[in-house]
């Protein structure tokens, strides 16, 4: 037993060797506490129930597995047509020259690296706070590691309706980069913002996004995780929603060796709505894991989880999704669907949907399916003259439609659809 604990401690020590943080500023207590949490929890291993389907070894190893830089110029950059405040990180390092001046009306934007030097900051109420709340009932050690050792990130406070979306653009240029970024967003009552994220970030990326949405606030989040084939990423989104607030998040994942996207959403106020969706397409060496935990604490809240994966050539999809309805969370409306389309017999989808309900007047539904392309529908399309490849692409996009439908902005939805179609064309017949 002692030897086992020692082994766990050594394992953690090896991972965090070389990581550190400055001993001054308002983040220090949060970082100290996070390190204490991490030490108590230890790093995740494949024997942990929460990591049963996805081996975390490459995420917890001392160094990242090198990932070749993917440089294709066959697509326009993500969100190209959207006017936004662009903040660029190259292998996790802020690139001021490539970024916009973040001074715009209604939003405060600061970098974590510089803001952390202050003694006091509004973000103290968010940084590591939502992450800590998200550690129970399930431990998320990689998020605690992030809070302890994040090197940078952005702190965004919105007091009105943001005139422009904020776009976080991640570039991966070094085969061995190992980035840890931590972002905090606070949406004051009635305020509204759209956050865009795009790009592969690093060979290995550990990202945490904490979002506090106060009463009547609205948060929109669209994330494109880049097309780098070999990168690995563990991301966490922690959100807490106040009365009548709204949270909407959509993630598109194409390629990537390993992706673990965790979302921990707490509907704390009444009448709030949280929608979280994802479309993932993988060909070959691809493991994509959506792990979602939605807690209904307030009354009359609505939550939707819509996750779709298209898998081929041995790609693996994982979904672990839970809706927890606390006592008193009456009139909850919870919905969860996770589906995979397996384009061949080598691919697999592992799903663990869960409902845990302690209130008696709630509506919750969940479903999970795994299937192949419908031959009858394929024949129907072909009998109308549509060539087989085009017909298949149409059916795959139809399968993904419900997830894409969660995107509010029709122009963004159309752009995502086009990117999925382009991916299908590139990976057709392989």
């Amino acid at each position: 037993m002692v030897a086992l604990l020692q082994a766990k401690a050594d394992f953690l020590a090896a991972r965090i060797a070389g990581l550190g943080f400055e001993a001054t500023g308002w983040t220090v207590p949060a970082r100290d506490a996070a390190l204490a949490r991490l030490t108590a929890m230890g790093l995740p291993g494949k024997r942990d129930e929460y990591w049963r389907y996805t081996d975390p070894a490459s995420l917890t190893a001392p160094a990242p597995i090198p990932a070749k830089v993917f440089a294709a110029d066959d697509e326009s950059p993500a969100f190209d047509g959207i006017d936004s405040v662009r903040l660029v990180f190259v292998d996790g390092v802020f690139d001021a020259a490539a970024s916009d001046d973040p001074a715009i009306a209604g939003i405060e934007i600061e970098r974590l690296a510089t803001a952390a030097r202050a003694d006091i900051h509004w973000a103290r109420e968010v940084y590591g706070v939502l992450e800590t709340r998200g550690q129970s009932p399930v431990a998320r050690p990689l998020a605690a590691l992030n809070t302890a050792f994040a090197t940078d990130g952005v702190l965004i406070r919105v007091t009105g309706i943001a005139a422009l979306p904020v776009a976080l653009i991640y570039h991966h240029t070094s085969e061995t980069s190992d980035a840890i970024l931590h972002h905090c967003v606070k949406i004051e009552p009635g305020a509204e913002i759209t956050l865009l994220e795009s790009g592969p970030a690093a060979a290995r990326f550990n990202a945490v996004l904490e979002v506090e949405v106060c009463a009547g606030g609205r948060f929109h989040h669209i994330r494109l995780q880049g097309r780098a084939h070999e990168r690995r990423a563990a991301t966490h989104v922690f959100a807490r929603l106040g009365d009548a607030s709204a949270f909407k998040s959509f993630t598109l994942t194409r390629n990537g060796r390993l992706t673990r996207n965790e979302a921990v959403i707490e509907l704390a106020g009444d009448d709030a709505a949280a929608h979280i969706a994802g479309a993932a397409v993988g060909d070959g060496a691809f493991v994509h894991d959506d792990t979602v935990f939605v807690t209904h604490a307030g009354q009359r809240c609505e939550s939707r989880q819509v996750f779709k994966k298209v898998l081929k050539n041995g790609a693996v999809g994982v979904f672990q999704g839970k809706i927890l309805v606390k006592q008193g969370a009456q009139k909850t409306d919870g919905y969860q669907i996770s589906q995979s389309l397996l384009l061949d017999e080598d691919s697999q989808f592992l799903a663990k949907p869960e409902l845990e309900i302690y209130a008696d007047d709630v509506k919750c539904s969940h479903g999970s399916t795994s299937g192949a392309i419908d031959d009858t529908a394929l024949f129907y399309l072909r009998s109308r003259g549509v060539p087989a490849a085009e017909a298949k692409a149409l059916l795959v996009l139809a399968f993904l439609a419900e997830a894409i439908g969660e995107i509010e902005d029709p122009a963004v939805a159309e752009d995502i659809r086009a990117r999925l179609e382009a991916w299908l064309t590139r990976h057709e017949g392989r």
């Binding site: 031959d375 529908a377 129907y380 072909r382 009998s383 003259g385 139809a398």
Partner: protein
């Protein structure tokens, strides 16, 4: 136009013979009807001609204007001018009816080496044709056949036929599941397409559809063969006497 000679077909999965030597010749601009009891192979014939998987042709040929149909992929058969109106039109959730139709029309144009139809032009054409089949804008917006009534599905098939302008149309029990009014509407849609050298093969159980779509030739199919052919009167004979007499005659 369509020449079928000694066609033998079995089910791939069960090694069970379904068509046992079908001979059929349909000239340009003519309407042929096939009637026959359940299990006689009528629908199999339509599927085999359209190229559905699961059937193996063990003998015989089928050509459309001289082209070997059986060697073509389903989409190539469509491009060659063949159209099958399905007995059970397929529901495709997530694909809008309009998108589906435009994709199909443009696939045909591409196969002919023509430019795609502009969205505006397409909309104009589709609206006019949809209106005559009483297909409203809402039906065009909904996913293909999802939530459509039986009649709506069949009208949607005829709309596709009208848009794709095939040379050889096969209607597989297009009257099944239709009330009298819906059947009239569908028949009017079909009749509007008659002429211009276009041929039809109408598969049906009942004579009543043939009151509305007048055939030139009527065939009776039984046990995988065409056992009798004749004029429109043959359909009336079936309606009043059933198949039993004809089958006895054929045997």
């Amino acid at each position: 136009m369509l020449e079928i000679k000694n066609l033998h077909v079995k089910l791939e999965a069960e090694d069970k013979a379904i068509l046992k030597g079908v001979d059929l010749s349909i000239g340009a601009g003519t309407v042929h009807a096939i009637m026959g009891p359940n299990g006689s192979g009528k629908s199999t014939l339509s599927y085999v001609l359209a190229g559905r998987e699961g059937y193996a042709v063990t003998d015989g040929t089928a050509t459309l204007d001289g082209a070997d149909l059986l060697a073509l992929e389903p989409e190539e058969r469509a491009a060659a001018g063949l159209f099958l109106a399905f007995q059970y039109p397929v529901e495709i959730p997530g694909v809008g009816n309009m998108t589906f139709l435009r994709t199909a029309v443009n696939a045909h144009r591409k196969a002919r080496g023509e430019a795609e139809m502009s969205a505006g032009e397409f909309l104009k054409v589709v609206r006019a044709k949809a209106a005559s089949l009483q297909i409203d804008a809402d039906m065009m917006k909904r996913p293909v056949n999802v939530g459509f009534s039986g009649g709506e599905k069949k009208r949607n098939e005829i709309l596709q036929m009208a848009m794709l302008e095939p040379r050889m149309c096969i209607l597989d029990e297009t009257d099944s599941g239709l009330d009298v009014d819906a059947m009239k509407l569908v028949a009017e849609g079909v009749n509007a397409l008659r002429g211009a050298g276009r041929s039809f093969l109408v598969i049906t159980h009942y004579q009543r559809l043939l009151d509305h779509i007048r055939p030139d030739v009527v065939h009776i199919m039984a046990d995988g063969r065409i056992v009798k052919s004749g004029g429109p009167d043959l359909a009336l004979e079936v309606e009043s006497n059933g198949y039993a007499d004809i089958l006895r005659e054929g045997a």
